[in-house]
């Protein structure tokens, strides 16, 4: 009886491991496509931050973009905010961060993200999720009513990305997709 239970557990174990092993064998072409997809999500976020931060963006559009931007993140993620004017880095929930960004006390805001690249490649975790870290540099410029630059800084940020293979039924078809979610955005350095 004991042997039978062990055998059943062994077979079940094999079935549980098989799908995970299949993901292990991701071909270089497919892995590259997944890597690019995760990078693209960060670039999408960069564009959303620029739109939300811009004072020229209509309020309704900014709110719509906040919704889209929020969908990029894993629930409970935090975004770090630094300033040259204070030593402490403040962390906010995603929605709160975007709402604060929309209401920044400048007449004009320019936010540019550049050098977006992996600092740690996507690595498969025991639960099948691929986890990696992407670094970005953010150039922030705030102008007053007279168009004078009153604050600027450059921040290096690390974004944790989670990629998981999921399936969904669409039109009677089973679609296998890669779900990319961003995690915390940590401030690494802030300089003028």
């Amino acid at each position: 009886m004991k042997n039978l239970i062990y055998s059943i557990l062994f077979v079940l174990g094999i079935f549980m491991v098989l799908p995970v092993s299949a993901q292990d064998n991701l071909s270089p072409d497919r892995k590259q496509a997944v890597d690019s997809l995760a990078l693209e999500k960060v670039r999408d976020l960069s564009k959303y931050i620029t739109i939300i931060g811009s004072k020229g963006t209509p309020w309704s559009e900014a709110n719509r973009v906040i919704d889209r931007a929020e969908e990029l993140f894993m629930q409970g993620s935090e975004i770090g905010v630094s300033s040259l004017l204070r030593p402490k880095i403040a962390y906010y929930g995603v929605r709160q961060y975007f709402e604060r960004l929309m209401r920044l006390n400048y007449n004009k805001v320019e936010i540019e993200w550049y050098k977006i690249d992996y600092v740690s490649d996507l690595q498969r975790q025991p639960d099948g999720t691929f986890v990696g870290v992407i670094t970005v540099f953010q150039k922030f410029k705030g102008y007053d009513k007279e168009g004078r630059l009153i604050y600027q800084d450059t921040t290096k940020k690390d974004i944790t990305v989670y990629v998981k293979r999921k399936e969904t039924q669409i039109g009677g078809r089973l679609i296998g997709f890669w779900d990319v979610l961003l995690g915390d955005i940590r401030v690494k350095e802030t300089s003028k």
Partner: protein
């Protein structure tokens, strides 16, 4: 010597001469036949040797002949009905090899035909989808929110509902599609407005009985 012998001597000489000629002719005929037999045997041996050489070359793939030429040569060799075990064995092996090669050639030709048919179908479909691609690209190229929103409203009329699923293929490696997280028509059109870039092409479209899109599949370029 008697006179009788001397008178019959010329007759005797004639008989000796005739017998000699007859005997000589018979011997010469016999040697000609042997020569012909030897010649035929040598020709047959050469034919067998050539058959072995050709069959071995075909078996080892060292011949320059095309598959058709090899099949013809094999037929000729088979028509000789050579009674030699080595040749018979080689014929069986070469026959198997050429049959397999023939099947492989036929398979490749069929694959090529299917590929070309698929490419032609894809090209025809892409031409059919050019209008959708243009609509989506125009949204991304808009210069203002108002302009983009007008184009989005127009484009949404192509869809059955704003919630029609939009599937984005990120990779077609290994013969199957990998997708990004599925989105909706409305969200995707607004995404194009925000990102100001259209880096896709329509891969497939499903429509309802009113000709409205019920599913859009895009391929990331």
């Amino acid at each position: 010597m008697s006179k009788k012998f001397l008178t019959r001597f010329p007759q005797f000489l004639l008989v000796v001469f005739v017998v000699s000629i007859t005997m000589g002719g018979l011997s010469s005929c016999k040697s000609n036949k042997k020569l012909a037999r030897d010649k035929a045997a040598a020709a047959y041996a050469a034919k067998v040797q050539q058959a072995k050489t050709d069959l071995t070359a075909m078996l080892n793939g060292t011949t320059q002949w095309t598959l058709d030429e090899q099949l013809k040569r094999l037929d000729v060799i088979k028509s000789y009905n050579i009674d030699d075990q080595e040749v018979k064995d080689l014929i069986v092996k070469v026959e198997n090899k050429l049959d397999a090669a023939k099947a492989e050639t036929a398979r490749k030709a069929e694959e090529k035909r299917l590929r070309e048919a698929e490419a032609a179908k894809k090209q025809a479909e892409q031409a059919r989808f050019a209008n959708i691609d243009r609509n989506l690209e125009n949204i991304a190229r808009s210069n203002s929110y108002d302009e983009a929103n007008q184009k989005i409203a127009a484009a949404l009329r192509l869809f059955a509902t704003p919630d029609v699923p939009v599937l984005i293929i990120i990779s077609q490696a290994e013969g199957f599609n990998d997708y990004d997280r599925p989105t909706t028509a409305s969200k995707f059109l607004n995404y194009l407005k925000d990102q100001k870039a259209y880096r896709y092409r329509v891969e497939s479209v499903k429509k309802d009985e009113n000709g409205k899109i019920t599913e859009l599949e895009l391929l990331k370029k």
